[in-house]
Structures are given as structure tokens and as C-alpha cells.
């Protein structure tokens, strides 16, 4: 079982005002890390630079929350990319289950839902390090026939400098998330 609880970054609800979450007063530096994407290419902190990234953590055997979030983000990216073509927006999914979520599995998963998304896997130590940096909680729940995870389902907005700029609630409506992300990428 992996349990991570860390005091969260300082949040400020005033600037900018978001409906679906909170923007950080001081953007949080992402720590150095090394994972692999679904094409088996190395992905590091530097790959967050020069675009906005919507980042979330999950696992491909998650039947409900993760695919719902992927669907929302995918729809939103299409709309925002059409309306603000200069705002480059990436969606990145980091697995909390590298044991089952190999690069091949992620490739299959991303192709099924949205082939433009980036799926990351790798050493559990790297995933733990990054999740601790972002105050992501995850806990493996063993069952008779496998295991699931309880996990933070927030959507993290990473700015063009590879810093965490905001954290959004996964249960927000598509409209609220879209408006907030438009606000953040237009800043």
C-alpha cells in the first residue's frame, strides 16, 4: 500500500477567480522527474515547458472517474484549441499503477480515448516523487480478484514554465472547467 499525505501548496482564491478550483498565489515549481510516454520516449519536467498542460493521475483499469475525466478534458481541449489556436494545450495522464500500465497498455488506452493525449508510466519511485510534489494521495485497495486505487482525481494546470498554476475539481461541469481553463491560458 502506498500512502502519501503532504501539506498542500499555498492557494489563493482571489487571483484569478476560478469556479472549479483554485489558482496558486505563487506557482509551484515541478520537481525533476523522469517517466516514459506511451511511445516509450523519455518525458521530463522540461516537456511541460512552452505549453499549458492539464495533468491528472489515475490508472487504466479505473472504470469510472478516470475515463470520465479523460472525456471531459478531451472535449474541452478540442473546443479551446479551435477558439484559441495560439494556446497550445496538452493533456497528460500519469498512471499510479505502473505494474499493469506498461507503455504498450498506455498506448492502447490513449489511442482508444484520445490519441493526442500523453500517457506516462515508469518507476514507482518517480511516480511517488512527483505525486508527493503535487500533494497527490493514492492508496492501493486489494480485492479478491485484483486491486483498485483510491486517489486524488484533481486536474492540475501546469503553466508554460513547468510550474503548477492551479488545481481544479474533477466533479466540476465541463462548462465550468472550460471557462476556468480559458481564463488561465489567456492570462
Amino acid at each position: 500500500m502506498v500512502l502519501i499525505i503532504q501539506k498542500g501548496p499555498i492557494l489563493n482564491e482571489k487571483q484569478p477567480i476560478l469556479q472549479s478550483g483554485k489558482a496558486l498565489k505563487q506557482p509551484l515549481e515541478i520537481i525533476d522527474f523522469e517517466l516514459k510516454d506511451q511511445k516509450n520516449q523519455v518525458f521530463t519536467k522540461n516537456d511541460f515547458k512552452n505549453q499549458f498542460t492539464l495533468l491528472f493521475f489515475g490508472y487504466t483499469n479505473c472504470p469510472d472517474v478516470c475515463p470520465s475525466t479523460i472525456y471531459k478534458l478531451s472535449q474541452m481541449k478540442k473546443k479551446i484549441s479551435q477558439d484559441i489556436p495560439e494556446a497550445t494545450l496538452e493533456i497528460v495522464f500519469i498512471t499510479l499503477d505502473p505494474e499493469r500500465d506498461t507503455t504498450d497498455r498506455l498506448d492502447e488506452y490513449m489511442n482508444f480515448f484520445d490519441s493526442t493525449m500523453i500517457g506516462l508510466t515508469g518507476e514507482i519511485s518517480e511516480i511517488v516523487k512527483l505525486s508527493a510534489n503535487l500533494s497527490v494521495f493514492f492508496q492501493r485497495i486489494n480485492k479478491e480478484d485484483g486491486y483498485d486505487f483510491n486517489h486524488t482525481a484533481s486536474i492540475f494546470v501546469i503553466n508554460t514554465e513547468a510550474q503548477l498554476g492551479a488545481s481544479l475539481s474533477p466533479i466540476s461541469s465541463l462548462e465550468m472547467l472550460e471557462e476556468d481553463i480559458r481564463t488561465l491560458v489567456s492570462k
Binding site: 487504466t60 483499469n61 472504470p63 472517474v65 470520465s68 492502447e108 480515448f113 482525481a153 484533481s154
Partner: protein, 145 residues
């Protein structure tokens, strides 16, 4: 698995085509998932048109090892999935199984059903006076918001 399929066919044979069904299921769908998935979620709207509370006692999904009732709880942005014993619906009430909340978890498919196919689900409901089996054909599709 053959035994399980025969059981499913046998149960279908004995389903009463009653005009006094109390449980009515609408808009049933299964979220399409990539090959290799170990579990799929099913959603629907269930209406109890009878006067008394009905509870599910068994759920069978054809082509899956088992089906369970699960609920997602999100607190402080942490998603937790819990298995529930059953679905209970008060008389003249209805319940929605929706993404991010209550759903059926269809576990270990023989083969992951493709988008635009259908999954047959049998839901057994009962109370102290009545028992009923509802046969559902759920569409396998993507989520629509």
C-alpha cells in the same frame, strides 16, 4: 464459462413476461473500453413503479465473470470506490446510475465488448412480497456529456 452461459440462457427462459413489472429500466449503457480492460462500468435509470421498496439481490452480466454494485465517493478531490451490497429503491421512486456516482461494475470480460454492441444484464429485484427479474440490453458506447 460454458456453464455460465447456459445458466444465463436458462434464466432468460424463466423470465416472466409480466404486464405488472414494477421495475422499469431505461437508457442503459456500458462505457466502451479498450481491449484488455478488466472492468467496465454500466449506467442506467431504474424506476420502481411498485408501492414498496425493492432491492437487487443478484446481477448477472452476460460475457463477464461477475457484476457488482459500486459507488464513487469524491471528498477533498479524492475519489474512492466502494462496493455496495445492493441497489434499493423505495416504492414509486427512481434512481440514476451515472458516471461519478452509483454504477454497476462489470468485472473480467471474456472479451471486451466493442463500441456499438450490446451487453445483456439480468437484475434480480425482490421485497417481502414480490420478486422480479429485469433483462436489460445495454448499449456499449462512449460517454455523452
Amino acid at each position: 464459462m460454458i456453464r455460465k452461459s447456459l445458466l444465463f440462457l436458462g434464466l432468460l427462459f424463466f423470465i416472466p413476461h409480466s404486464a405488472i413489472s414494477e421495475i422499469v429500466v431505461k437508457n442503459a449503457w456500458v462505457r466502451a473500453a479498450p481491449a484488455g480492460s478488466k472492468a467496465m462500468a454500466a449506467y442506467m435509470f431504474i424506476d420502481n413503479q411498485g408501492p414498496k421498496k425493492m432491492s437487487s439481490s443478484k446481477i448477472i452480466a452476460n460475457g463477464f465473470e461477475k457484476a457488482e454494485v459500486h459507488m464513487i465517493f469524491i471528498s477533498n478531490n479524492i475519489a474512492q470506490m466502494r462496493k455496495l451490497e445492493n441497489i434499493s429503491i423505495d416504492g414509486k421512486e427512481s434512481i440514476a446510475l451515472e458516471p461519478g456516482g452509483l454504477h454497476l461494475m462489470l468485472i473480467n470480460p471474456n472479451k471486451v465488448p466493442k463500441k456499438n454492441s450490446k451487453v445483456e444484464i439480468l437484475m434480480f429485484f425482490e421485497n417481502e412480497n414480490n420478486a422480479e427479474v429485469v433483462r436489460i440490453e445495454a448499449d456499449v458506447r462512449s460517454q455523452e456529456l
